[in-house]
């Protein structure tokens, strides 16, 4: 089955075409990276999938269900979780309360405490999130999505702002997530991308410039030109 499928997804902001006719399929269990220059439409793509914005045209399927017209919370209930590129946390609440809000009431596989313990955050669980440093907040951003026990996870630059230790830790943990979970990741850190992804989609000016396995991407001239720069 396909975890995610989009058909001719199109989005304009005024005169600006941000997504143009994007058709993409992601298999269950796949690790997919989406890269592309700044302003290529990556975040917008996530926003349309998660329902934050409505596309002008095209269709979206999550695990076979058509979700194009569903409000965001319904999509979340289908198992879709996402992080935001700009932290979107309950900053006045404690870390534990943040996690409580993210864990689905009954189907949660573990308690919030176990979850935080697991990720090494239990000792900070009572501190209001606004008192965390920026990088720490970025990590909470990710924790929230993970706490949802998702089946389809959309990560928008999860390692941005994290120190190299945390970056390594995070990539390892995401890589080790059960293969039942499908992960889409937007990243500008090529080490992370090549370390983690099975397949890579490159967006440019709202279009799919390239899609393929990671080695093919590295050698693609167009991708080098618009995004990677000459490799040195």
């Amino acid at each position: 089955m396909k975890a995610l499928e989009t058909k001719s997804l199109t989005k304009h902001f005024g005169g600006l075409a941000v997504l143009q006719d994007i058709s993409m399929t992601v298999e269950v269990g796949e690790r997919r990276a989406i890269i592309g220059p700044n302003g290529a439409g990556k975040t917008t793509f996530f926003n349309t999938i998660s329902g934050v914005i409505k596309p002008n045209a095209g269709e979206i399927f999550v695990f076979g269900d058509k979700v194009t017209q569903l409000p965001p919370f319904r999509r979340a209930r289908l198992g879709l979780a996402r992080t935001f590129q700009q932290n979107n946390l309950f900053v006045n609440l404690s870390l534990l309360d943040n996690i409580n809000l993210a864990m689905p009431p009954n189907q949660a596989k573990m308690t919030p405490r176990d979850f935080l313990d697991n990720w090494g955050w239990w000792d900070k669980s009572t501190i209001p999130v606004k008192e965390f440093s920026y990088g720490e907040q970025r990590q909470v951003e990710l924790l929230l999505a993970l706490a949802q026990s998702p089946r389809l996870l959309l990560l928008d630059e999860p390692t941005a702002g994290m120190s190299s230790v945390e970056t390594n830790k995070i990539t390892t943990m995401i890589r080790n997530l059960s293969r039942e979970i499908t992960v889409l990741i937007i990243e500008h850190d090529m080490d992370v991308v090549f370390d983690f992804a099975d397949r890579i989609t490159v967006l440019n000016y709202g279009r799919v410039l390239f899609e393929g396995a990671k080695d093919e991407v590295r050698s693609d001239e167009r991708v080098k030109e618009v995004y990677l720069g000459s490799v040195d």
């Binding site: 998660s50 979780a81 935001f84 404690s94 809000l101």
Partner: protein
């Protein structure tokens, strides 16, 4: 919301006990003030659910209070004095109204929400003012008898009525407390903090706001029921924005988002205003200065600040 509030019920219990004993010590006038404090405390608590927890400052909360009161008054005018009937209708008609208005006002937020609720509140105020045959117009409706519960004690006796109010007050406190600490209540706080994130986490945020709006309306209606029984009288003034403004002040002074804080706020405003205005014609100056001092020295309202102090005193986070 914070862990430190878990000790809160103990304090709440002590307070209730004090409220139970107080009437035995108070003068009749003192008792009537205390009865009012309970009624307005309930009213303010219901608003705190919206203001403090949901993050919606509503400028027509008096609508639900007043509609609850008018319901009882109109029933009494029709000769229907059954307490339970009045109680049920006095709560459910405000709830129905909130169901309807909620659909219209919850599209806005922040100051826009403030103003659209003001607009609807004033329309209903105007309606009560103009619809003389039903509402008595600006003269209001008078002569509403105290409820008859079929008990051997008369509610005309101030103490008995006080205890009746106290029972419902305590009951409402309990329900609101439970509600706020339920999953739903916590989710409502989440909506206040970040609506988009809550949606991404699978919560129906509109539904949560709607629910909160309706529950708040229902409890305001309950307060209105006792208000009209207490005063025996209701006029459109109680639907006016000035009334909504008053409860907003009660909530802020007591501390928004502390649930019982607004009761303290209600107590402060009612008692101070009565004390001061009996001693000087210049009571607005005194009240004004008290408000200003509160803002400058009590950041989080009376109760909010007290909780902060306690937290500081214990020296942990």
């Amino acid at each position: 919301m914070h862990r430190m509030l878990t000790k809160y019920p103990i304090w709440g219990g002590l307070l209730l006990l004090a409220l139970f004993i107080l009437p035995l010590l108070l003068s009749p006038y003192g008792l009537s003030l205390l009865t009012q404090v309970l009624i307005f405390g309930l009213f303010a608590m219901s608003l705190d659910l919206l203001m403090g927890y949901t993050g919606l400052v509503s400028f027509n909360h008096a609508t639900y209070f007043g509609v609850g009161a008018y319901t009882v008054a109109i029933l009494a005018g029709l000769g229907l004095n059954n307490f339970w009937l009045s109680l049920v209708l006095g709560i459910s008609i405000p709830v129905l109204l909130a169901l309807l208005l909620g659909l219209l006002v919850l599209r806005s937020s922040g100051p826009y929400f403030l103003m659209i609720t003001l607009a609807f509140g004033q329309m209903i105020f105007a309606l009560a003012w103009r619809w003389r045959t039903i509402t008595g117009g600006d003269d209001g409706l008078a002569g509403i008898p105290r409820p008859d519960l079929g008990l051997p004690m008369s509610m005309w006796k101030a103490q008995n009525f006080y205890y009746l109010v106290l029972v419902f007050f305590a009951f409402a406190c309990l329900i609101l407390w439970k509600f706020i600490h339920s999953r739903l209540g916590k989710a409502i706080v989440g909506v206040r903090e970040s609506e988009t994130r809550m949606q991404a986490l699978g919560h129906n945020t509109w539904g949560l706001k709607y629910l909160s709006y309706i529950v708040a309306g229902g409890f305001a209606g309950l307060a209105g029921v006792f208000y009209v029984y207490f005063n025996g009288f209701i006029s459109p003034q109680e639907l006016n924005w000035t009334m909504s403004g008053q409860v907003i002040l009660m909530v802020i002074i007591g501390g928004a988002g502390t649930l019982f804080g607004p009761v303290v706020g209600a107590g402060m405003i009612i008692i101070l205003q009565n004390l001061i205005s009996s001693h000087t014609e210049r009571w607005p100056i005194s009240m004004g200065i008290i408000f200003i001092l509160c803002v400058m020295y009590l950041r989080d309202g009376v109760v909010g600040s007290a909780l902060k102090l306690r937290k500081k005193g214990r020296g942990n986070l």
